[in-house]
């Protein structure tokens, strides 16, 4: 048996393969749904790494090919930006 709880899917939020599989089995079969409930992929990487794995898991458990699943959405600003940088105040005081 694979030790699913030793397999980390999202490093940003410490979500394991076991967490993901349980959610899918509970009926959460949309990647956006899973991301929101677990915060998996809600860190600065926006799910670039875990997204693929989640899609594959959904496909494996539901039997729907990945091509037919809804893909994840990305949102700006990529990689994050500080408020001071938005405002053009690059004197990072303190």
């Amino acid at each position: 048996m694979m030790k699913e709880d030793n397999i980390i899917v999202c490093r940003c939020e410490d979500v394991t393969l076991k967490d993901i599989r349980e959610l899918i089995k509970r009926g959460y079969t949309n990647i956006e749904e899973i991301k929101r409930i677990t915060r998996c992929g809600m860190g600065p990487c926006q799910g670039k790494n875990c997204g693929q794995i989640i899609l594959r898991e959904i496909s494996m458990i539901t039997g729907i090919p990945v091509e037919k699943l809804t893909l994840q959405r990305y949102r700006p600003p990529f990689g994050g930006i500080k408020f001071s940088e938005v405002l053009g105040e690059n004197n990072d005081e303190k």
Binding site: T29, N30, E32, E33, P44, R75, K82, S84, L87
Partner: protein, 382 residues
């Protein structure tokens, strides 16, 4: 399996639809089908600030908010769920920048106290005890209610939905309502992307698409949708207890238990449409506003921005009733920026409405109020 017969079809898997489904099923209604075109909380619910405020200016809102907060406080028992809704009750700090606003807050607090809402007025300096790094320049006074707060909207919706499922409700995700069939002035069924569901009752809880659902039934519902943008930062140690909010400076900002800051403001000159793209303008304005009011935020990293739709009625207050033109067509729409916080009480109210029992509370939320010119004048809305 597609369910093809229902006692009621609930359109919309947002917090309102799911709260209604749960409450109806808890009271014993069978064969409930909830239809959601994408996934649960994919609309306004999953995009919202998720604040829960009891500091309102009308009796009815004070009542609904207080009632809802009591349910949020006991959510595990009330909804019989293991899901943690991440309720944080560290208050709402409302900022007043004019004498008129201070006046209004005082009037509101008078009403709030009637309902046992523990709010109070603070001098600018006193508000520093609650948020030490608040910029109190130009601040006249603040109102504070320590039991206000916020919760995780996905978890609340999921908890309602899972409990409803346990009670036998069928939830169809990825299923879009395409039409509503009528015959001889009565509803006969709902046409969906996955087939027809026969029913005599429909609950329109389609959030920003409420008007379109109305049209499918031949009704002209007086609501429109408007984009509201929002952003979130990286998580950091807890430094901000309450939700900080101002109607006149136009901002709300909170720190979630997870550590990220979530903030937004009400837009100006937005069209009435379903746009939910993000704008650069919002990013810049929000940055200016937030860092002026809460200067230490400057060093924080914004990680995502997005937008959702407010569904807005002429008096910016919800419409929760059965249509007078079409029997069996119920609606819970037009929640503007406060549908999440009112969802527990609205779910209960809807249940009695649909089961044709005495309304559990005396509130005016029907569609007829606009014709009767009895609109609700709530002074404290974003």
């Amino acid at each position: 399996m597609m369910k093809n017969k229902a006692s009621i079809v609930i359109i919309g898997g947002g917090v309102i639809g799911c709260s209604a489904a749960y409450n109806l099923s808890k009271r014993g209604l069978k064969d409930i089908v909830l239809v959601e075109k994408k996934f649960l909380a994919s609309g306004a619910t999953g995009r919202c600030g998720a604040g829960i405020r009891q500091q309102w200016g009308t009796r009815q809102n004070c009542f609904l908010a207080k009632k809802s907060m009591e349910i949020f406080e006991n959510f595990r028992d009330y909804v019989d769920t293991k899901i943690d809704i991440e309720l944080k009750q560290k208050g709402y700090l409302l900022l007043a920048y004019s004498d008129k606003e201070v006046d209004q807050f005082e009037k509101n607090i008078f009403i709030q106290h009637e309902y046992g809402i523990p709010s109070r007025i603070l001098e600018p300096e006193e508000s520093l005890e609650i948020v030490p790094f608040l910029n109190i320049e130009k601040l006249k006074a603040a109102a504070f209610c320590p039991t206000d707060g916020h919760a995780n909207p996905f978890h609340v919706t999921a908890a309602y939905a899972e409990a409803a499922k346990k009670n036998g409700v069928t939830i169809l995700k990825d299923t879009e309502v395409l039409g509503i069939n009528k015959s001889k002035g009565r509803i006969t069924g709902v046409e969906t992307s996955k087939g027809l569901i026969e029913t005599e009752k429909v609950l329109n809880a389609a959030g920003s698409w409420a008007r379109e659902i109305g049209k499918m039934a031949g009704l002209d519902l007086p609501v429109f949708s408007e984009r509201h943008e929002i952003l979130v930062t990286e998580p950091v140690n807890s430094i901000l207890d309450p939700m900080v909010m101002s109607f006149s400076y136009n901002i709300y900002c909170q720190q979630s238990p997870h550590g990220s800051f979530i903030m937004g403001y009400g837009p100006e000159n937005e069209g009435h449409n379903h746009r939910i793209n993000s704008s650069c303008n919002f990013l810049e304005n929000m940055s200016k506003k937030a860092t002026w009011l809460l200067p230490p935020l400057k060093k924080l990293r914004i990680v995502r921005q997005w937008a959702g739709s407010y569904n807005i009625s002429p008096d910016k207050q919800p419409i929760v009733c059965e249509s007078e033109e079409l029997a069996g067509f119920y609606m819970a729409i037009g929640f503007s920026g406060h549908g999440f916080m009112l969802s527990p009480a609205i779910g209960i109210y809807l249940t009695d409405l649909i089961l044709k029992e005495e309304p559990p509370f005396d509130i005016t939320v029907d569609l007829g109020r606009f014709e009767r010119r009895e609109t609700i004048s709530e002074p404290s809305v974003v």
